[in-house]
């Protein structure tokens, strides 16, 4: 982990609200692990003080290039979407503890919802030798991205949209639930919005499936120094605040308590 000036190689719109950026970041690409993130300083506007955490979407070890996919939701991501190739980005990375595949894992289910699909592409690329089944949830057909990439490394891709314009209509967690009733998996890795994660926690505990989830929280430093990025880890009797930036963002599903979150 270190601070770099990474040149933008390309930056273009992938789907409605979603952009993909490729940057030249050899050192990060060399060390990065699926589930880790980079922390980006938004150039050009000093009033946007804080860096933005964005998951690593994929890497090319040979060229040292790194992809991110981000959804435009506010000022920072809007400014990112306007950046031209050739500009240098001030980034920290790779940060956080990523997903971890226990020894003996053969079958792997991966699940992503919305911008939570982004980090799962890196998971699939890194562990493509496993039997991967992908579960991808989107709002609508217009927001679907990188489906081809998932088809490349997956035995099968399950897709849902909230409005039914593509794939199954409804929540991707219901599709997963159906699938688990037919065929279990050694491990599930997931990332997505809080309501989806809450539903997922219920489903994996009913089916008794080991599951790791990647969490989001507002961050400051990203390196463990300011303790603003807390999440609740433990059980209802005994819990602690842990730091999403350095203790996570990936945690075991059964130890994540999301009571207060919405």
């Amino acid at each position: 982990m270190s601070r770099y000036n990474a040149k933008i190689i390309e930056n273009y719109q992938l789907a409605e609200d979603f952009y993909k950026m490729t940057i030249d970041a050899k050192k990060i690409a060399q060390w990065a692990y699926p589930g880790q993130f980079i922390h980006i300083k938004i150039p050009g506007d000093n009033s946007l003080l804080l860096r933005r955490p964005i998951s690593i979407n994929g890497i090319d070890v040979k060229t040292g290039q790194l992809d991110i996919v981000y959804q435009v939701v506010g000022k920072g991501t809007k400014a990112l979407s306007k950046l031209k190739k050739g500009i240098g980005l001030d980034i920290l990375g790779p940060l956080g503890k990523g997903f971890h595949i226990p020894e003996g894992t053969k079958k792997l289910y991966i699940l992503g919802g919305g911008c939570g699909v982004a980090p799962m592409r890196f998971v699939g690329q890194r562990w493509r030798h496993l039997d991967i089944y992908s579960f991808l949830g989107f709002r609508s057909q217009s927001t679907v991205f990188q489906l081809n990439d998932f088809e490349c490394f997956s035995r099968k891709v399950f897709l849902s949209t909230d409005d039914g314009t593509m794939g199954y209509k409804g929540s991707i967690v219901s599709l997963l639930n159906e699938r688990l009733s037919i065929e279990k998996t050694d491990l599930l890795l997931a990332c997505g919005p809080i309501p989806m994660i809450k539903a997922l926690q219920k489903v994996v505990s009913e089916h008794d499936i080991p599951c790791q989830i990647s969490l989001e929280e507002r961050m400051g430093c990203g390196v463990g120094g300011c303790v603003v990025c807390s999440c609740v880890i433990g059980n209802r009797k005994q819990w602690d605040y842990k730091k999403v930036c350095t203790d996570g963002p990936v945690f075991w599903s059964q130890e994540v308590i999301l009571d207060g979150e919405s």
């Binding site: 601070r3 009033s47 003080l49 390196v223 300011c226 603003v228």
Partner: protein, 310 residues
């Protein structure tokens, strides 16, 4: 650039340069070695300590506002015993001034902590009378000159470590509070802690911070902080550590001109873990460009006669 003298002295201690990591923004310093050599720093004020471990406030604990941030950490820390057992010694191996920032619910708690720190391998104690994010103690103490005086005096009796008293800016007349700290026996005054503020998300109609209110820091508060440092420096004799929105070497110079002997860097550490390297370099560049060989020449060097016209 080799001949620059950056050292400053406060309370009988020498600092290799006037740049100190601000409490709560740099953890316990350890873990930053990947990004910067802790030995280059003038000092490190560690994360605010309490007698017992504290969980702090529920998230979200941070909100970005124009050129500033609001935080509502609420003094999450592992407690003073943990600090003494696990952190103080590893930190001591670095050649920099180590400052223990302490926070109590009562005057007795502050005294008790100061006693525990008496023989600890640290250099200074910083009495935080200014945390805006806890229900008891903190800011409630720091807004009343009588309480500031009595707690400072009480703590002074329990420790011979040099004592910094950290002030809250959420008061009508900060000079009176600073005077009270000086009369109580403070060796150094540090200011400012954060300004009480809040942020609302118009879309959801909810506060962004779970705690609703939080403390504002960063460049947004720099003019307010500068004014307060200047006001206090007009009145008190003891040295001042100035802070509030320092992001560059020139910001450091401004605080020194206003009367601070040293400065703390807080929010900038949240923006980049390497910020203090750049700030120190910026200070050196300023000195070289302006032919200043000793940083002490800048302290209190504000030119006011003749207005701002040259």
């Amino acid at each position: 650039m080799e001949n620059l003298n950056l050292g400053v002295n406060m309370a009988g201690l020498s600092f290799k340069n006037p740049i100190i990591a601000a409490s709560g923004t740099f953890g316990f310093g350890l873990g930053y070695e990947d990004y910067l050599d802790l030995n280059i720093l003038g000092g490190i004020s560690v994360k605010g300590l309490t007698l017992e471990a504290r969980k702090g406030n529920p998230p979200p604990r941070i909100a970005e506002t124009p050129s500033g941030i609001l935080n509502s950490v609420g003094l999450e820390n592992p407690g003073i015993e943990y600090f003494l057992d696990r952190t103080a010694l590893p930190l001591r191996q670095f050649d920099t001034v180590i400052i223990a920032n302490i926070n109590g619910n009562t005057s007795d708690e502050y005294c008790h902590m100061a006693e525990k720190l008496q023989d600890a391998p640290i250099d200074m104690v910083e009495l935080n009378l200014s945390c805006p994010n806890v229900k008891e103690g903190g800011i409630a103490f720091g807004t009343d000159p009588k309480t500031v005086y009595s707690i400072t005096k009480a703590v002074k009796r329990h420790t011979s470590q040099p004592l910094i008293v950290k002030l809250t800016p959420n008061v009508t007349d900060i000079s009176q509070i600073a005077l009270a700290a000086q009369q109580g026996g403070a060796d150094v005054i540090s200011l400012v802690n954060t300004f009480l503020g809040m942020a609302i998300d118009a879309r959801t109609r909810r506060p962004i911070l779970n705690n609703i209110t939080g403390g504002l820091s960063g460049p947004a508060i720099k003019p307010l902080a500068l004014r307060m440092v200047w006001q206090v420096s007009q009145l008190v004799e003891i040295p001042i550590i100035g802070m509030g929105g320092i992001m560059t070497g020139e910001d450091v110079v401004e605080f020194l001109l206003a009367g601070a002997t040293a400065v703390s860097v807080g929010t900038a550490n949240l923006v980049s873990p390497t910020a203090m390297i750049d700030i120190l370099d910026g200070l050196k560049n300023y000195m070289t460009a302006n032919k200043i060989t000793n940083v002490n020449e800048l302290i209190g060097g504000l030119i006011t006669e003749g207005g701002n016209k040259l």
